[in-house]
Symmetry: C2
Subunit: 302 residues, 2 copies
DNA sequence: TCGACCGTTTGTCCTAGACAAACTCGCCGT
DNA sequence: ACGGCGAGTTTGTCTAGGACAAACGGTCGA
């Protein structure tokens, strides 16, 4: 049989659209229109799954489902090709260098990419490398993905190669002479962006703070346990732009309530740039804020 | 207010139990018994979430929910403390060394752990290190987590430290002289165990195969795209023991159907040890099988 | 040009029922 | 006594449609 074995769970896995949303769209907009198996369960044809993935990408760019659903496939594709929002372009000189790096990824030239990055790292030093190369490059990759200029697997390759490089650089740093504050770096479940965490870790390590790396996706209650067990001063969480906005503030308030008062809570990443302030939580929208926050913490805890 | 802000989505995030399951248990077994907010939505008290986490852990050990629900909290705790299944214990000498490493993790002694591991790596060489130290240690950590001997955040710390070490070791390997087969190493969405992938990658790299690292959690359709774009010979997927059994065979059959015939599909990891064979898919239940599979592939493709 | 308001859009939650796959247990034949 | 087979039970996931709050977009007034 060549029938598509995309049941609703498989579509959820592959598109990131929840079952509830898939059923709701069908009810409300008349798309998708899955077939049914003998048992009345939805079976999604191949092309509809592809279309759903496209719609999801456009929604991440800020488009709204109601508008997208009515469009023909060609119109969707045209929208995807167009740049999402013509933001201000930063200095062309910088962009050109970044584009070279991006181009290496697009050509799947792992070796060339690693070489180029290592050269930049050596030339700039870790701090400037992170702030001036890696942060904008990551941003650029994100935009390129939104525009459809690179594929998911190319983004995966980028992430994988870059984390390796960065981990290596962090490992080579000398141990800090002032091992305070002790910082747990992690992210909550569903948030799997690792690169942001590593960038912060390298900056904090350069400041001489002691980082307890925990990878991504720590359940909230585990974060609390870990804070107690490691005698931690700071919990630093990273939220990527892709993380559902609506969940962030509730999550932070919840965590703040569960944590002991003497543990600071820092939230950073692209995702919190539009978040509203919250008492007891420090927002670090920019990478550079990490160094300042460390200094402030030290001032308050002599 | 000190009311518990655990809504059903937060409980799903923190326990890994789906909303459907949470509601079903409530209907069927009378547990959990969340309060309701003004809007009629479920609010789970703190202690019930903790109990749900415990129940989940016991279920991962093979217990069944129907039995567990009726038990008192003390009985649950007692079950958790007992070792899950008295399997055959391997040679005591090996276990003792592993226990020392495990003990370092439990004491959160990152530096000591890395040092000890690096020594073993130097002494054994990468291949034997992976097969004789890392694989059993990972297994041991998994068992320790089931027994409640280590916490989730300790497991995260273990994973994070170990992946760093292993990535570094892989990076130091010379490039293979025979860059075939070209292998994509990854896992499907929901499967985030990274260590297994890295272990395989190091063994394949030692065999001189060329690995395209893709991290974890690749959507099925992206795997297919990547296979075409990278001109790939083999897709290697890893399934941990925690991955839902029911999904595996459907997923592999689906992927096999979508992939071009000339691309081999390898499935490995603890999760596939009990899986039933499938045409066109090679099962590699043991780490050592990776080397054999590589040799077999080369024999078939001169 | 900016802020406040109001209607519309959209995701998530709700209840309750059905069924298939997985597991348990007891029977029967060797 | 032991292993395979069938019937019965357990369990997760799917289905349907309804409800509502938060977020968004556009309009009006300062």
């Amino acid at each position: 049989m060549n029938l598509p074995p995309f049941n609703i769970a498989a579509v959820e896995r592959d598109t990131g659209l929840s079952k509830d949303v898939l059923r709701m769209w069908e009810r409300r907009y008349g798309f998708p229109t899955p077939e049914r198996d003998a048992n009345g369960e939805r079976l999604y044809p191949h092309d509809q799954v592809e279309r759903l993935r496209l719609v999801k990408r456009l929604m991440d760019q800020g488009h709204r489902p109601g508008k997208l659903m009515g469009l023909a496939s060609e119109e969707l594709a045209a929208l995807a090709r167009r740049a999402p929002a013509p933001r201000e372009s930063s200095s062309a000189a910088v962009d050109e260098k970044l584009d070279e790096l991006l181009e290496l990824i697009r050509r799947h030239d792992s070796v060339g990419y690693l070489l180029a990055m290592q050269q930049r790292l050596g030339r700039q030093g870790l701090q400037r490398f992170v702030q001036d190369t890696l942060a904008p490059l990551t941003h650029e990759v994100g935009k390129a993905w939104e525009d459809g200029r690179i594929e998911v697997f190319e983004e995966h390759l980028f992430t994988e190669l870059t984390t390796r490089l960065l981990r290596q650089a962090i490992g080579a740093l000398p141990a800090g002479s002032r091992p305070r504050p002790r910082v747990i770096l992690t992210s909550v479940p569903e948030e799997q962006h690792e690169l942001g965490l590593l960038m912060v870790e390298s900056l904090l390590a350069l400041e001489g703070a002691e980082c307890v790396p925990q990878g991504t996706q720590m359940p909230v209650l585990e974060i609390v346990h870990a804070a107690e067990a490691h005698r931690i001063d700071v919990i630093a969480l990273s939220f990527s732009i892709a993380f559902p906005q609506r969940q962030i503030s509730g999550l932070l308030r919840h965590l703040r309530q569960l944590l002991p008062g003497h543990v600071a809570l820092w939230a950073g990443g692209e995702g919190i740039k539009r978040a509203t302030p919250l008492e007891g939580v420090d927002y670090l929208p920019l990478l550079a804020d990490a160094a300042e926050a460390t200094a402030a913490w030290r001032k308050a805890h002599p």
